[in-house]
Symmetry: C2
């Protein structure tokens, strides 16, 4: 019996340097696809999609039919973990997630180990999506990172002002914030272990709001919790590689890479070529096309795609954006970028 081909994404995550890097785009499922919006209109609320494995796996696979991506990422959203810990969650049309008052910390701590079980429907989404995907394409599971979740949970919403208040509370209510982040690290580990056991072949941790943290705070609220999650996955026997994405970490991404234990690091739009090359000595890197440029399209997009390929494809590299796809991105621009990456080395 011939062995199944190993997905290109997993080769890169192991540190292999490939003739052309794998490609997928953050937020590729949902958002900019008309077939998604059709489904969403029928389903009613956003959470009806997330917690229905048939719908969520269908949305996961929709972009895989349109584009030659090398990996699918399950369709979900990061505040499902706070909800599983007992915080009320709802979606305000056009405004993103809203959360109720922060639950008692002890009550949340009691729930951390059952988060995977509470979110079992996401595991079913993983199983269905994996079953519907070609063997040479990988399936990625994901979770929000503890600090990013905490910024939502502390203020009950996202946005710049809420994040500033959360950063301020990291100084004025340090004990509370540090304990919350530790609880979230354990809950996230439980959630990711469940996804890996259901068939997710790689796991991404989205630290979407790593920006503007002083080094000592970053160490305590980002590096340490990520290391805690990685250690818990290892202790549970999970072998799926972890992609950590500390968006906005700037120069702190170097310490993050060395100390968190992740197998790959997502880079944001700002990452310098030289920095990525230094990181590639230790891990695979992923990123960092500007979603604003993907939306803009044209020759300036082509040139930047080529530049990223040239600067980073000498080491383990996964082509991706530096942040999620913007909803009104023209589909032809996505096609153009994906085809250009796929054709790399063929030109």
């Amino acid at each position: 019996m011939a062995a199944l081909p190993e997905p290109r994404l997993l080769k890169a995550l192991k540190g292999e340097v490939l003739e052309r890097p794998p490609i997928w785009f953050m937020r590729q499922a949902g958002r900019c696809l008309p077939e998604y919006h059709e489904l969403r209109a029928k389903a009613g609320g956003f959470l009806n999609l997330v917690f229905d494995p048939k719908l969520a796996s269908e949305i996961t696979l929709q972009p895989m039919r349109r584009f030659a991506y090398d990996a699918a990422i399950i369709f979900s959203d990061i505040p499902v973990v706070p909800q599983a810990l007992g915080q009320e969650l709802w979606y305000q049309e056009g405004e993103g997630p809203r959360l109720g008052p922060l639950p008692d910390l002890d009550a949340m701590a009691d729930r951390v180990n059952s988060v995977g079980e509470t979110l079992a429907s996401v595991g079913e989404t993983v199983r269905l999506a994996r079953a519907g995907l070609e063997p040479e394409r990988a399936l990625i599971g994901f979770a929000g990172a503890p600090w990013t979740l905490a910024t939502y949970m502390l203020q009950g919403r996202g946005g710049d002002a809420a994040r500033t208040v959360a950063r301020s509370r990291a100084f004025t209510e340090r004990g509370l914030v540090e304990r919350l982040v530790d609880i979230l690290a354990d809950a996230t580990a439980s959630y990711l272990i469940m996804q890996a056991r259901a068939g997710a072949q790689a796991l991404q941790i989205f630290e979407s709001w790593a920006e503007f943290l002083p080094e000592d705070v970053f160490e305590r609220l980002v590096i340490q919790p990520h290391a805690r999650i990685v250690a818990a996955l290892k202790a549970a026997g999970v072998t799926a590689p972890v992609i950590g994405f500390p968006r906005g970490a700037g120069a702190l991404v170097e310490r993050y890479t060395l100390e968190s234990g992740v197998q790959a690091v997502g880079l944001d739009v700002q990452a310098p070529a030289a920095l990525g090359q230094r990181l590639q000595r230790n891990v695979a890197i992923q990123g960092a096309l500007d979603p604003l440029l993907l939306r803009a399209g044209g020759e300036v997009l082509d040139r930047r795609v080529d530049q990223l390929l040239e600067q980073w494809s000498g080491g383990p590299y996964i082509f991706n954006l530096g942040h999620g796809i913007i909803p009104d991105t023209p589909i032809v621009h996505i096609e153009r970028a994906v085809e250009r990456v796929i054709a790399w080395r063929a030109r």
Copy 2:
């Protein structure tokens, strides 16, 4: 005749390593001081303060009476340069500056060399403030950086959404944005030359919105215009050292430092200790206390002040914030931080 003592700030800017670093805080004039708000209430609009040299120099000196800062920075605001180029400017109470439609680029280009003259009242502020300041305390002039000014000018206002649109236009209207930035570099040079001739002993360029720019865009819209300003100052015989502050530049601050030609670099709250130490081999560094922590106060503030002093006072270092003082910062916290820095090495 005994020589006047050289201001501590200027020694640090020359690269001297001092027993204890000089200290000043961005936005130290105005904002959090009751005596400022008294003056402002009497004067009516904000621009009435900025363009009245007696009032503006008084506001410049107010914090110098309260705190043992080693430097004063003139009281002004960055959109005076767009106004001098012909763009309408006003202040919406509680919302910051607003600007009218972008003027014709050719018309602005015709005005660049007269910007210093147009803003001559700021030169008078410099003269009055310098005359009212002790010789051992330095006077800093400043301007907004071209890209940061452009983000305001393109959308007519500040804020996150406006900056995102400006970054997007850097891709979709690249020619326009690049020409605008070049015009602003020349206008800024004219403005800073005037301030230096009036008596400003150091000049800071505030690139407040250097964040989220891809490396190639950062090079074209931040590094090159700053280098252009530094070269114009040199050509005009200005010897006052330049502090460049590319806030949010992350790891790109290293290229910025090597390629812009500035004598000192302002670091934001996120700057890692090791990064600052690398930069100190070539330039003086300034920063990077979190203004949210200054507002929070307490022992956590003391500990971070000590940490910054320990990690950076082995090289040329100017103690400062990583961003401007927040308006509701308690004055006792500012006193506490300043006194702690002043007492450094004495403990």
